[in-house]
């Protein structure tokens, strides 16, 4: 029962990423991060791109795959308390458009970072490692799987 609310959505977290303008905000946020990093005079262009990639993947991992539950109380009696935000998206339905978008965007960022770092080996290892940390949890086979126990 949703007391005092204007919608009948049991868990608003599931619909947040589908809201109008959310993808644009996300893209603008990544762009802003990149511009800030580019403006720091100590970083060369390849370093800035690798840093953008790594920081973006770190942020995505923390907010989508590490933090569990909802920041507000939901009337579903805690069904989503042990689920990360990624698992809550669209109530667990796989391959929706939001999920596809957030899977593809780190890959695009990876391509751009690889190009701008001129495929240098050190940068390559860093970028690939951080891409994997963010791609593996998104696979549908890992829905609800907790390796080495990040469970509570």
């Amino acid at each position: 029962m949703n007391v005092g609310v204007a919608h009948s959505e049991v868990n608003p977290n599931t619909r947040v990423m589908n809201s109008r303008g959310m993808w644009l905000t996300y893209a603008l946020g990544v762009g802003l991060l990149h511009i800030v990093l580019l403006s720091i005079p100590f970083f060369s262009v390849p370093v800035a791109w690798t840093l953008t990639n790594v920081i973006h993947n770190l942020g995505m991992y923390v907010f989508l795959h590490a933090v569990k539950g909802t920041p507000f109380e939901t009337p579903d009696q805690g069904k989503a308390r042990l689920l990360t935000h990624w698992e809550q998206l669209d109530y667990g339905v796989q391959f929706t458009s939001s999920r596809k978008f957030f899977t593809i965007s780190p890959i695009i960022l990876y391509f751009l970072a690889s190009f701008y770092t001129k495929y240098d080996p050190t940068h390559f290892i860093l970028n690939t490692a951080s891409l994997l940390t963010v791609l593996i949890p998104k696979m549908p086979q890992l829905h609800g799987v907790r390796i080495f126990g990040i469970n509570k």
Binding site: N2, E9, S19, R20, L24, T25, G29, R81
Partner: protein, 552 residues
């Protein structure tokens, strides 16, 4: 029937034709982007003009800034939580004692995140205590906070004569005592306050019977039954009407009392999109064709649950189409007229009269006395056998205390006032004044360029604010200018649609509304709230003319 008179969508405005019979009208004429349905020469309706409902979308940059606002608030929330856990910042919320650290936690820390970090910062805009009757003006107790809204203290001063734009006081009957309430005082002296019993035992007074007959007469139905609490009317009676093996089709935005009653009943609940007749028809067809899941038997009953006016959106239900659908698929209809009784319709009889329909078409008419009658409680009205069944089987009649006699007398007095039985036409004048105020307020807000949701005729007016900071700024600034409003934000509304909700009243004079509108104009410029891209001005551009000479 492919198109039971549904409107067409263009430019974010949804135009819906008021009078609709079973045969669907196919003649649409498009003019300047507005689609109207061809008028049918059916039976004469009081409301001949097409209904206009609009739910305009804001420009994209507004949504981006809204998400950025929430994102920044979230980041700062994480920072503050970190500081609190380090001990650098004092933690004001409840924390576990040292001895309890090893126990299983009672609450999850994260679920309070929004409350701690976002709501607490702007908490002074809600739960404001008032100290007078909630008429068109009221007195608010002044309170300040020394520790950023974690605790409040009252300064002892009272902010007097704040214009009340938040109370559900549609006809202005929630005022302080005056001579017309003498009968209430007499009943209080004669009957006392408490009933001390349920309806089945010793709690049925002659006042209840008088009230029930009056309600039945007011709504033009066979019989009615009243209950002590509006919320409880829904949650206690829906389980008595439907049970396991029945199907409930409920609107997306139904109130918590309807949702609770539906869940308590044990029936299967399916939700259709808000006011969307295609969605409802699809659900009805599937229910009739496929029957109950797995056993494929027919449903025992199909009950459609809708509201007259939805309080958060200001939209009015598409009653003619729903009645047509219910007749076609043989379902029952339950309307919750909490906000629409007394406030819409030419004589204030609710949505059924608003659309010019027959009250016999609606199976269960439910409403509350809280909004337009200045009292408390609810009623259910309909056919006599339905009401007799409820008198025996309603959970409220068996277990809940019945309505208090002075409250019943207040409702009797106000209903007679509205119906004109007290010998004056003031009731009718108030209903008309409310309609005039509604139209004026909505029209002026639209002209100013705010985004307003809902039907043109509904006295509940949500004004969209979108960004969380603007929600707080709006409420605080308006209180400084002595106007009291209700604001709501996420997670009570969808993420990006925080709003302020105005309730127009018949007790508001034109001057009060003009004051409010002037202040809203200034607030709109100060906070940049005028997002609407459909500026429609009702007045022609005469003010641009400097002279009216023919050969200038």
């Amino acid at each position: 029937m492919a198109n039971p008179g549904g409107g067409a969508i263009c430019n974010g405005n949804l135009h819906n034709h008021g009078k609709q019979s079973d045969g669907s009208a196919s003649g649409n004429c498009a003019k300047n982007g507005i689609v109207k349905e061809a008028q049918q020469n059916g039976w004469p309706h009081v409301y001949d003009k097409p209904l206009v409902e609009s739910f305009e979308e804001a420009p994209l940059h507004v949504m981006v800034f809204t998400y950025l606002g929430y994102g920044l608030g979230t980041l700062f929330g994480y920072l503050r939580d970190f500081l609190r856990s380090c001990g650098i910042e004092k933690c004001n919320a409840a924390i576990e004692r040292e001895e309890q650290k090893d126990f299983v936690p009672l609450y999850q820390n994260f679920e309070n995140f929004y409350t701690r970090n976002l709501y607490m910062r702007i908490r002074d805009n809600w739960n404001r205590p008032i100290c007078s009757a909630p008429g068109s003006r009221f007195d608010v107790m002044e309170r300040v906070s020394d520790d950023y809204n974690w605790t409040f203290r009252f300064t002892g001063r009272i902010i007097k004569d704040v214009i009340n734009m938040g109370s559900y006081n549609f006809l202005g009957l929630a005022a302080s005592y005056d001579e017309s309430m003498r009968t209430v005082k007499d009943v209080l002296e004669e009957y006392g306050l408490g009933v001390a019993s349920t309806r089945h035992e010793m709690g049925t007074l002659d006042k209840h019977e008088e009230l029930e007959n009056l309600v039945a007469k007011f709504l033009n139905v066979e019989a009615a039954m009243v209950f002590g609490m509006g919320f409880a009317t829904n949650s206690m009676n829906i389980p008595a009407l439907v049970g396991k093996g029945c199907l409930i089709l409920s609107d997306e935005l139904n109130h918590a009392s309807l949702v609770l009653g539906a869940r308590l009943s044990g029936a299967t609940i399916r939700i259709f999109k808000h006011n969307n007749m295609q969605s409802l028809e699809k659900l009805l067809r599937d229910a009739v064709i496929y029957g109950q899941p797995r056993i494929r038997r027919a449903w025992k009953k199909i009950l459609i649950l809708v509201e007259g006016i939805y309080s958060m959106e200001g939209s009015i239900v598409r009653l003619p189409q729903i009645v047509a659908l219910k007749k076609k698929y043989k379902a029952y209809l339950y309307i919750d007229e909490a906000h629409s009784i007394g406030s819409v319709g030419p004589t204030g009889r609710g949505v059924v009269e608003f659309f010019g329909l027959d009250p016999q078409d609606v199976d269960v008419l439910m409403g509350t006395f809280t909004k337009s009658f200045g009292a408390s409680g609810g009623y259910i009205a309909g056919r006599k056998d339905l009401v007799d069944y409820l008198r025996v089987h309603s959970h409220s009649a068996v277990y809940a205390t019945s309505m208090s006699p002075p409250v019943a007398e207040q409702i009797i007095r106000s209903m007679k006032f509205i119906m004109g039985l007290d010998g004056t036409t003031q009731g009718l004048q108030r209903v008309r004044q409310l309609a005039k105020n509604t139209r004026y307020f909505r029209q002026r807000l639209n002209e100013m360029g705010f985004i307003i949701y809902g039907n043109e005729e509904s006295p509940v007016i949500p004004l969209l604010l979108y960004m969380p900071a603007k929600v707080a700024a709006f409420a605080r600034h308006l209180l400084n200018r002595k106007i009291g409003v209700v604001v709501v934000g996420f997670p009570a509304t969808p993420l990006a649609e925080a709003r302020a909700r105005f309730c127009v009243s018949a007790a508001h004079t034109r001057e009060m509304l003009d004051t409010v509108l002037e202040n809203l104009d200034e607030m709109g410029d100060l906070l940049q709230l005028k997002y609407s891209r459909h500026r429609k001005s009702a007045r022609p551009e005469l003010y641009d003319e400097t002279s009216f000479e023919l050969d200038d």
